[in-house]
Amino acid sequence: MISLKGVNARAGAFSLTDITFDVPRGAYGVVIGPAGAGKTTLLETISGVVRATSGRIELGGDDLTHAPPEARRIGIVYQHAYLFPHLTVGQNVAYGAADGAMASDVSARFGVDVLGDRAVESLSGGERQLVAIARALARRPEVLLLDEPFSALDPRTRNVARRVLRTIYFERRFTVLQVTHDFAEAGLLGDVAIVLDRGRVVQRGDPEEVFRKPASPYIADFLGAENVFAGVARPIRAEGPDWVAGDAQELIQHAVAFTTGALAFYALGDVVPGPTHAVIRAEEVSLSAEPSMSSLQNQFRGTIQEIVPAGALARVTVDASGTPIVAAVTARSVRELKLQVGGEVVVGFKATAVHLC
């Protein structure tokens, strides 16, 4: 278990401020954030490399806020591996290993056992990262901290490494906290997502929840949401306490009309009435030649501005009453609907697909 409560830390000119989150024992946490958000500093604070100036850090239920790194029962894998250059690959993996069998086992699983006598300088970036992961795991840590450990791997090796790590993780059930700026990776791996920005936790929760319901337009943008609209929310059916126009403090949950420019659409959820933002994942937006009789509450006719193919999918931007809406559709749909720039199409999405933040 990793538990941080109100942790403040300083590394050079950079500060972590009031960091609070929990990753339950045996869970896989992911830290997401843009470059310079403090992700590496956060891992170094948990590992004891950077000293926490206040707050409380618990690992495995013990208060280890002021404990030295060697007493924290952790393993850390940096993006740049930091293999000891004066030792061979085998010596690196065995450096802090719980025992020789453990070092051999993880080396074999990550396929670095064949590199045993090689000098570290002769390894590729990807091989270094695999050796670094094996070295950290050979110690049998209770908490594993990973700083973008797969960034130097080619796609195939990355998938293999992820699978091996997941297998060992499920076998041993240690707690993991992995830094990534790849949200697909976060969603793939994580039980808990922590979004960090400028040294602060700006959102935490289930990765799917964070992905679908970002806490702010900034997070939505960072997480790759293409449809982020500034506008005004107005309740249209009171199911909660009566809402008085202009009372922005009153939080109510009900159907909402959201207006952005000349476009108005329905949404559902908790919202402070007034100016706000609407986020719609491109994957939630559908296209059709004619309005459908489905459960889509929001359907608009628009003109196709752009079609960007990306493998089996395509990003189609539709101008609906002056508002560009991006839909992610299959390449097959593009062909079947005969979509082309300048053509007309009906863009639709459910009210539940609209997240107001």
């Binding site: 590992s47 004891g48 030295p68 060697e70 850390i76 000891f84 004066h86 802090g96």
Partner: protein, 279 residues
């Protein structure tokens, strides 16, 4: 009139070749080469002249001149002891200066550099003031049977004082070049601070620390100003060459001075070998 489809460029003639600047560049290159050569000659000529004039005689007199032999041995031994003390005492300081950020770090750094800017005879006077027989410390040491002034101990003290800052500076730079994260990784792998230093930082810094030690040793061997104040006798090689010069003139000082130059080539060669290995 230009044919259709052909660009007309007459209105924008290409810039004239900058001959003047090329000539200026050539003159500047030659001037720099001449100045650099003169500077190199300024360094090499006296040393080479000294070795040519006195090297053969100095080497051949080594077997007969016991005073020269003893002074070289004394120089080597005292410089080695001073270097060993410096390495033991100054390595932690260099490490702390390279790794830690603390109040007073700049002051500590300045203190370590102080002997570099003090004229060496002044350093000798300062040491005499603190370690001479008339001082409380020197008196106490003398009472305990340890005579500092006019003894090999004084030579070691003078060498240590003037050459240790060079070691600290080089060792500090060496430690700073080793990324601290190697140590932190070792700590997360179970090492305490000392073990991480011994198993990771020290091996990664070893070559640089040895080079720093060689620099310190070489500086100690060549020291004169502080030693001559603190311990004229027994004579180290630099003091002996000065003594022969003032007592017997240039011709008698030449062999000693030339042998001392050849002696100084040993650490220089060691340093080149170490740096070559690094490269």
């Amino acid at each position: 009139m230009a044919a259709p489809g052909i660009s007309v460029l007459e209105s924008t003639p290409p810039p004239a070749p900058r001959r003047a600047s090329a000539v200026t560049r050539a003159i500047a290159t030659v001037a720099v080469a001449v100045v650099s050569s003169l500077f190199l000659l300024f360094i090499v000529a006296p040393v080479a002249g000294l070795v040519v004039a006195g090297g053969g005689r100095g080497l051949s007199s080594l077997s007969a001149d016991s005073e020269l032999r003893d002074s070289l041995l004394l120089t080597a031994v005292t410089a080695t002891i001073a270097t060993l003390i410096g390495v033991v005492g100054a390595t932690p300081i260099a490490y702390v200066l390279a790794r830690r950020s603390f109040r007073g770090r700049a002051v500590l750094s300045a203190v370590m550099d102080l002997p570099l800017v003090i004229p060496h005879p002044v350093a000798g006077i300062a040491l005499l003031l603190v370690l001479g027989r008339g001082s409380p410390v020197g008196g106490a040491l003398y009472a305990a049977g340890l005579r500092v002034a006019s003894s090999p101990v004084g030579i070691v003290c003078a060498m240590l004082f003037v050459s240790a800052p060079l070691y600290v500076s080089a060792a500090r730079e060496t430690f700073a070049r080793v990324d601290a994260r190697y140590e932190w990784v070792a700590r997360t792998l179970g090492d305490d601070a000392w073990r991480a230093f011994r198993r990771v930082t020290l091996p990664l810094s070893a070559r640089g620390l040895v080079a720093a030690g060689v620099v310190m040793w070489a500086r100690a061997v060549s020291e004169f100003g502080a030693i001559v104040i603190l311990t004229y006798n027994p004579k180290v090689a630099s003091v002996l060459s000065y003594d022969r010069f003032t007592s017997f003139g240039l011709s008698e000082a030449l062999p000693v001075a030339a042998v001392l130059v050849l002696f100084a080539l040993i650490p220089l060669a060691a340093l080149r070998a170490l740096r070559g290995g690094t490269a």
